[in-house]
Amino acid sequence: MIAIIKYNAGNTCSVQNALKRLGYETLITDDEEELQNAEKVIFPGVGEASTAMSYLKERGIDQVILNLKQPVLGICLGLQLMCEHSEEGDVACLGIFKNNVCKFPNTEIVPHMGWNNFEEVKGTLFKGIEVNNDVYFVHNYYADLSDETTGVCNYITPFSAALEKDNFYATQFHPEKSADIGEKILKNFLDL
């Protein structure tokens, strides 16, 4: 069973629909035991970082996520919450990845909205994916680069399109909304 973390910042049904198209049953839950017992866990999210972080903390979901041993995939806000700190609401995040989340300068067109290719891809999630493949992004904040960056995208500045560390994976883009390319990336995660 694939668990999707239930909290106040979700586009959980998009992720659920995408997994269903791939033939996977999902469980949307915030129950500690159900999350621990899941084969894999997906941590989606759209919304505001500091509100989402305080929601996770109040319910102890932050500790549950940190202690997960199975493959975990953060998506969009999920990626940002797995980083060290976010400028959105100036909030300390889960600190799984050492990256910091910064705001795009509003002198340019923001949000970064639409299909964008990569500057660089490596690692498990990107098996069979090339730098000229496009995936769908929509975000106002971005995670900077570190040695945990496995996908680099360039919009205004180069930033982390994907991160990977131990059993934790994350994408800034929405694989569940990125047609055939997104499906491949989701499958790479599900095949882990």
Binding site: E48, V110, P111, N116, D134, H139, S178, D180
Partner: protein
């Protein structure tokens, strides 16, 4: 590089796709799900569904249509028409839409934009502006283009940005249905003045119209309906064409 988006728009009435010309004269254009799937295969970058009836009786029909679309479509889509409150947005987003578009209701009560942005994030809110050129300049119209307001288009776009809009969908009523090309003047002005993605709509008849749009304005997307529905322009061919003109587009 961020790609320019090509967006087919499906006008929905009682769960069917319809197309009008110059905001009047409606005729049936098929099943929305069939069309939507065809567009995804052709390489559409996003889809917009506008419920042009948007009566309370039709809400449940629309919500169940949105659920069906979300199950079958793996690209982002926006739903608009008759969205008046955060509760309306919640039903549409919960059903699986990625964004909602607000028009008349936001003109009537601009705070709605902020309320939606606060609740669901600004990336969720597309502000649709129907505009027509008058003696005083480009003005905002509501109620499917039937009602003239006092608002000037550029001012309203700026205001929408301040209130937390994530995107502007700008439709020129002068150009809509004419196949004479997009309204470049107002699209350029709006896309210059706001730092939001702007979708240009109304008037596309030929591949070249999209090329001119992307070469002369900062619009990040071009939207059209009947030329796609009637197979006058195939999205895949359009993208191939744009690529030869050095316009960044996503090709499947």
């Amino acid at each position: 590089m961020l790609k320019k988006r090509i967006i087919p728009c499906l006008d929905i009435q009682n769960g069917r796709t319809v197309k009008g010309v110059n905001f009047v004269g409606i005729r049936d254009a098929g099943d929305p799900i069939d069309l939507a799937k065809r567009y995804v295969l052709e390489g559409a970058d996003e889809l917009v569904f506008l419920d042009i009836t948007a009566t309370i009786e039709n809400r449940d029909t629309l919500v169940s249509l949105v659920e069906r679309i979300a199950r079958e479509i793996d690209i982002p889509f926006t739903v608009g028409g008759g969205i008046n409150s955060v509760e309306d947005v919640s039903r549409i987003i919960t059903a699986g839409a990625d964004k909602v578009s607000v028009n008349s209701s936001a003109v009537r009560r601009p705070e709605l934009i902020r309320e939606i942005a606060d609740e669901f994030g600004s990336q969720c809110v597309t502000v649709a502006i129907d505009t027509q050129k008058s003696k005083e300049g480009w003005k905002v119209f509501t109620h499917g283009g039937r009602k003239e307001t006092k608002l000037m288009t550029i001012d309203w776009a700026k205001k929408a940005e301040e209130l937390g809009a994530g995107e502007i969908l700008l439709t020129s009523m002068n150009n809509d249905g004419t196949k004479e090309g997009f309204a470049l003047e107002i699209t350029e002005k709006v896309s210059d003045r706001v730092n939001l993605p702007v979708i240009a709509s109304g008037g596309a008849g030929f591949e070249k119209d999209f090329e001119i749009l992307f070469k002369t304005t900062k619009a990040t997307a071009g939207l059209a309906a009947s030329i796609f529905h009637n197979n006058e322009i195939h999205i895949q061919d359009l993208k191939k064409y744009l690529k030869t003109k050095q316009i960044p587009v996503r090709c499947r």
